[in-house]
Symmetry: C2
């Protein structure tokens, strides 16, 4: 295996082209990048650290590692209604990293830069004895003071969620060949949902542009845990009608076979959808915004006074959930 080129050569050959469209990146030839925010806008920043063997597998396709790294952060921005601007990245490559790996990783970055309007703004390229460690700091903008936060939900507000829930959790199981009784197409769909999240960036930005939504965040630790976070930050409770929780065909097929898996769908992580609190009179405009941005959405419940978070079945009986949320810690 050929050794990696040196730091400066890696930057020149692979990373500088990712920064070519951003004047503030200074072609990655300075020690810093500069960002000139639009007047009347806040910057929104989020960072994730990924370690091989913990957050991704060392043998995962490099382009997918790159894209998932960007997308989990883009999902955080989407949950706030921010428009992505760019990112800083650190790469600590292990000794087994060769130039082919880096080239494929960079291909993945380039694909999602184009899809989401991002540019690489800066970073740091180092070596580690292992495991490989990556971080991405994503930067977005929102009109000043209008970014969605966790703490804006009020009793009586409606709970909405985009996409489908549980795909991430069962997608991981599918990619480990732990699921039976599903078609190849269903297994592929679920594994794909796990491998490559679809952050709801356009929908989130359109919401904020229209002043819609009282609280927002992305669903990454699982619907149950993240709704609990929103309730805690907002000082209220919530009641969810589980029959209204949107499920993909694949998960619906799984649950038809094994209804006991419902709690796993609700508590499992890695869905990367948007969770919203909305005043009742905002709901029609939010549904319209979702339609215009081709974003599936469902109204699944209501915020309540008190602190209880209830997931109710079709007979209004509480669904028992496993220990809420899955973290990588």
């Amino acid at each position: 295996m050929a050794a990696l080129p040196g730091e400066f050569e890696l930057i020149r050959r692979y990373f500088a082209p990712l920064a070519a469209q951003a004047p503030g990146a200074l072609a990655l030839q300075d020690d810093v990048c500069t960002i000139a925010p639009s007047p009347g806008h806040d910057l929104v920043l989020t960072v994730d650290a990924l370690t091989a063997g913990v957050h991704f597998l060392r043998n995962d396709p490099p382009d997918l590692i790159a894209r998932k790294m960007l997308r989990v952060n883009l999902s955080d921005l989407a949950g706030k209604g921010a428009t992505p601007l760019g990112y800083l990245m650190t790469t600590a490559f292990d000794p087994a990293t060769d130039e082919v790996w880096v080239a494929r990783f960079v291909e993945g970055l380039a694909l999602d830069q184009a899809e989401f309007g991002l540019a690489l703004l800066g970073g740091d390229t180092t070596a580690t004895p292992g495991p490989m460690a990556l971080t991405a700091t994503l930067i977005g903008t929102v009109p000043r003071g209008r970014g969605l936060r966790r703490n804006g939900a009020r009793p009586g507000d409606r709970i909405l969620v985009t996409g489908t829930i549980g795909d991430g959790y069962f997608g991981l199981a599918a990619s480990r060949n732990e699921l039976n009784n599903l078609s190849h197409a269903e297994l592929d769909y679920l594994a794909g949902r796990y491998r490559l999240p679809q952050p709801r960036v356009a929908f989130g930005a359109a919401l904020v542009a229209r002043g819609l939504g009282r609280a927002g965040m992305d669903v990454s630790d699982g619907l149950a845990a993240d709704l609990a976070h929103m309730c805690e930050a907002s000082g209220c409770g919530a009641r969810v009608a589980t029959p209204r929780v949107p499920l993909s065909g694949a998960v619906a097929a799984l649950l038809a076979d094994e209804p006991d898996l419902l709690p796993a769908a609700i508590a499992g992580g890695d869905d990367y959808e948007v969770l919203l609190a909305a005043a009742p009179d905002q709901v029609p405009a939010i549904l319209e915004t979702a339609r215009e941005t081709a974003t599936p959405i469902a109204e699944i419940g209501v915020f309540t006074t008190g602190q209880d978070l209830l997931f109710l079945d079709a007979d209004n009986r509480p669904v028992a959930l496993p220990k809420a949320g899955f973290t990588h810690f």
Copy 2:
């Protein structure tokens, strides 16, 4: 050894207090932080990734690891004339990390937050099988378009550098007990300069506020390599009078004994001083700014046409340098 508390508890107990002064950090309870830049200002960002065993020693005092992590990035900001605002941090703790370690690490962060006017704005706390990996993304502000860059030097501009050169290189040697013939005080001084850089933040910000300096960067890869970087970016050469390069008493004593160590002082890294290009008529105001901010400074040479970078001794003979610069890659 007690296991670490979980991620949320670590944040609540140790990291949230570091964010208490920054409303945009949202108490580290949201997925993002928000920054509302002052009108007419650019943001300047820089990130470093540090791996145990590569960039620091696992047994180094945790408070010093924290402070050095912030300071090497603060030095990048100082070289651009940016005023520090805050930082995002990722911590991947290895299994040997206990709560005492984290508490001391946080003490170091708190000390330098107070000294440099920083707040923790956000981050990600994860676990790694090892080695420990840390990153810090530092954010500063400059009046729009006035941040110093590498590429502004012109032939005839004077070369200035703050502080003393070579302390970082010989400080590493001192901390490894590789130096003889120095007093305990001199060894302590050098080791301290290596362990805890003094980024020239006030000086850099004052320069930019006064519109002084045509190019700027910090000296971290060594005076020779960083001056070469500035020359390359600016499309010019440079001539340095090595007798004018400012040396600490300790390094001067070393070189008096072993004159052959001069190239190591000039080429060695980790000084974290500011390197400037200045039009000749800016020099008096820069010296006055240095005096007001209690920053030692020296004029050491001149930028030239062409591409040659010459370090000349007292008899105007070129000093032969080792392969320029030391990187951690």
